[in-house]
Symmetry: C2
Subunit: 202 residues, 2 copies
Amino acid sequence: MAWDVEGTKHRIYQAALAEFAAHGPDGTTVDRIAKRAQVNRERVYNYFGDKSALFSAVIRSELDKIAQAVPLTITRTTDLAEFAGRTFDYQRAHPDLARLVLWEGLSDTGTVPDELTRTELYTGKANAVAAAQQAGLIDDTLDPAHLMFLIIALSSYWSAAPQIARMLSGTDAQDATETAQRRAAVVHAARQLATPRPKPTT
Amino acid sequence: MAWDVEGTKHRIYQAALAEFAAHGPDGTTVDRIAKRAQVNRERVYNYFGDKSALFSAVIRSELDKIAQAVPLTITRTTDLAEFAGRTFDYQRAHPDLARLVLWEGLSDTGTVPDELTRTELYTGKANAVAAAQQAGLIDDTLDPAHLMFLIIALSSYWSAAPQIARMLSGTDAQDATETAQRRAAVVHAARQLATPRPKPTT
DNA sequence: GTCTACTCCAACAACAACGTTGTTGTTGGT
DNA sequence: ACCAACAACAACGTTGTTGTTGGAGTAGAC
């Protein structure tokens, strides 16, 4: 077994994922991908086509993973807060994917690939919230989609804007206790938003 | 008046803002900036130094603007929620800024230009929150910096991740009533986080 | 053994972007 | 009127990246 085609492809894929996540589509060079994969650059073109095709291949494959990673089912009031915590955890554990999605979003010019599938994913979550609101488990002041979006914002912005998190907290994101506090803040905030409240008398 | 130096600088600045926001530091070319500003490329280098210096200048200036446009002083419990609302408004009016911050976050390699100045800006806001917490105006469950960060996240993520907002709400961001609802959601959420609560008996 | 198909690599041309330099023309002061 | 300083621009050399090509070596079929 002198040749290991599948292995080579896989190494290229992994290298591409890392490089794209680190530097984005424009900041990444095919040469660096090849170097990292310990492969000749020509292999990249031969196996994956040009750079943008490789980027598409990577992002599609990774999005499939992200979709199934953090499911949401609400049977208790605290489930939404836990969802926020798990989303936070997921972003911490897979910073590459989070960054990839962000890059895609920024490069976005109107429509995103697989928009239909992903829309269903989100509306599914929104529907879960809506059902829980009708069941009285979740505060129904806000539109379910808006509430869902705010939950995602709370959980995601730490990874999306790490420089702001750093400047505000003064602490490095690597610090374990800081991370724990951030997570606790997210969960607490989500719970505040989710817990049903009596209507204000204003 | 044959020459309009300030005007030229300003045109370059505006062009750079638009290009950087659209394509990010790596995706932007100095030549396109010059073309858009209807200026020779050399002027860019003469006035602003190299590309990264220009990017720094743009992001710093834009952050100064939002800091002055949306100040934060807390004398009532609802002030924090109003701050969130005004931040949301500002981001809507200047969507380039949110994208700029995200680009910077993605390109972030440990330290950001003007990190010291900007850190002071943020800690100033965090201190305002801390003081208000001690005065009993703001709920003190969360660390002031973390609370401040969550407020910013709530207000900014709509502009930062428009594709997610679009997929979740199903509505276009141009829709006036949708925008109003989003703003209301942000303000409501901020108020939920800010309002002092008795400690849970758990 | 030989043939075909495939992997792998070094080298190449084409191009795009960077940052600089040299020149022309304009301004405002003396 | 003259001059120094400066705005404006075209053109340049350099560097880095892209995508391709031709050749050398290897595996398995017949």
